[in-house]
């Protein structure tokens, strides 16, 4: 059974058609890269799969749930239980420490567990940065906090929108290794990227142009998924 299923999904912003009749199936534990030029609808597709945005037409089913029919309250529940987001801009709450930013996701989900949050940060290599504010962390460290936050509620689906877009080569490598590790752990990963070498890490590359799905191809060199 597909983890993510899109049937004839379109999204229109005013008169601009951001997604045009997209149909797509993503299996459990697949690592998908969404690529295409700017304005091709990559982020819109990711946001619709993550329940951050709703399609204008079509059907979106994630983990057996038709999210295109959910109310905003149900979508909030879906986001905190089924999806983990990694953003290019990190989007951490500036006045909360790394640990608190992770615990914030726990708080919205159910109950906070500091030990679990510490473990999540340890997993991303930030055990010694727990009490640092985002402004005291490097871009790579902030992105890793963002990943720990995405993982803390154990979602099966990880959605990453240009996660390495603001990172140097070393931090990019760390983040990609973490994504590979999550993939090995059984997570489904959908990553939006411009960079071909990052797309190559995925099992499958979906190409968009002008909101249309133009190509789906298997990646030639998925080095991490072979590990």
């Amino acid at each position: 059974m597909s983890n993510v299923l899109l049937k004839q999904v379109s999204k229109k912003y005013n008169n601009v058609l951001a997604l045009n009749d997209i149909s797509l199936a993503i299996e459990n534990n697949e690592w998908i890269a969404v690529m295409g030029p700017s304005g091709s609808g990559k982020s819109t597709l990711l946001n619709i799969i993550g329940g951050l945005d709703s399609p204008t037409a079509g059907k979106v089913v994630v983990a057996g749930e038709e999210i295109s029919k959910l109310s905003s309250k149900q979508l909030a529940t879906f986001r905190r239980e089924k999806a983990g987001f990694v953003f290019q801009q990190f989007y951490l709450v500036p006045y909360l420490t790394a640990l608190e930013n992770v615990m914030l996701a726990q708080y919205f989900h159910s109950m906070t567990d500091e030990q679990e949050a510490v473990a999540a940060l340890q997993r991303v290599g930030l055990r010694d940065r727990l009490q640092h504010l985002p402004s005291q962390l490097s871009g790579g460290e902030q992105q890793r906090v963002c990943m720990a936050r995405a993982l803390i509620n154990h979602p099966r689906l990880i959605l990453a929108d240009e996660p390495t877009g603001n990172l140097d080569a070393e931090n990019e490598r760390i983040v990609l290794e973490l994504l590979a590790e999550l993939h090995r752990d059984g997570h489904t990963i959908i990553i939006v990227t411009h960079a071909p070498h990052i797309g190559e890490q995925a099992q499958k590359i979906i190409r968009l142009a002008h909101g249309r799905l133009v190509d789906v191809q298997l990646s030639a060199a998925c080095q991490f998924c072979k590990i």
Binding site: N47, A76, V93, P94, L104, A105, Q106, Y107
Partner: protein, 380 residues
Amino acid sequence: MFARILLKSFRGRDSRQWVAFLAVVIAASVAATLLTIRADAGAKINVELRAYGANLVLTPDAESEQQTFSVSAMMQLPWPASRDTLRGLVPVLYGVMSPVENSNAASQRAVVALGTEVAAMRQVNSFWNILPPVNELHENEILLGQAAARKLKLATGQSVQWRAAATGDTASFHIAGIVSTGENEDDQIILNLATLQKMLRLPDRTTLALASVQGGPAVVEKLVADISRHTTEIRAKPIRKIAGSEAHILRILTLLMSIVTAFTVVVATLCLGATMTALIVERQQEVGIMKAIGAENRHVGRFVAAELTLLGLGGGLVGYWVGFFFAGVISKNVFNTYASLRLEILPMVLILALGISLAAAIFPLRRALRIEPIIVLRGE
């Protein structure tokens, strides 16, 4: 975690949050100042007005056809036990007396004689000015009203023989002092009550009695009712000039304070509402992030409401003390005493401050709930 986020959120704010806090403090302190003054004003105005004299007069009942009533009966009336309520009670007996022909008085015109207890009279009418100060008149002593002394060409220290017009009885009196009241007493002579009763042959009788009752018009009215139930010989009447003024002043004061408080509350609510709306706009991204990772409107609403509740309670508490300080300053200048700390006002001020905060929360809350995470994440 909720408290942790809330406190961090407070700490991480810029000056705008302090402007919001200040708005609550100002409204709460104005309300606290006015409530404290209003609470004290009744008692203090009452005390001030007591200086203008009695606010209750006792006379013989009109239907009894008596011109005097019994002092003993008067003492049996249901007076308040507390000296704080009954500040003074003094009988006043009137008669007519004139200096006898062979006295030293230049004029032998008859004058009104007033028999009373000077000490008790000064408790009731503190404006009585006696020179040299006299607190008690002995049997052979007399005080002259300043106009009477001028007309009779008499002065302190002289002795004069007087005759009571009603009985013809005579007695010699030493002039112990000159009284100045600005009222009828200036034209009268003042004797010890017992002495005048003896000269008029009216033992235990008095023409009227004056009382100074503290506690406002309601207390006076109640006492009047109690007395009328107790006796038919004596009639009690409030002196409206004083009791009425007191009620009128308090009414105006209350109205004025209500208007000022209402105005301040409205302005503070608008100011707080505008500031909080600006704060929400400023925090749009933060709210968007929270919603993106799963926060529902109830979570966001809880943060906004808790923040405003804290602002309200904190502002109310600070405002209460600031208000108490200003009430003290005003009270010292107007009444020459400091305002008393009234803890019963604290809940009122806190509720008011909380009300301001929650009323001001409506627009920012609506704005916060309308925030779409995707709009924020797209940077629109």
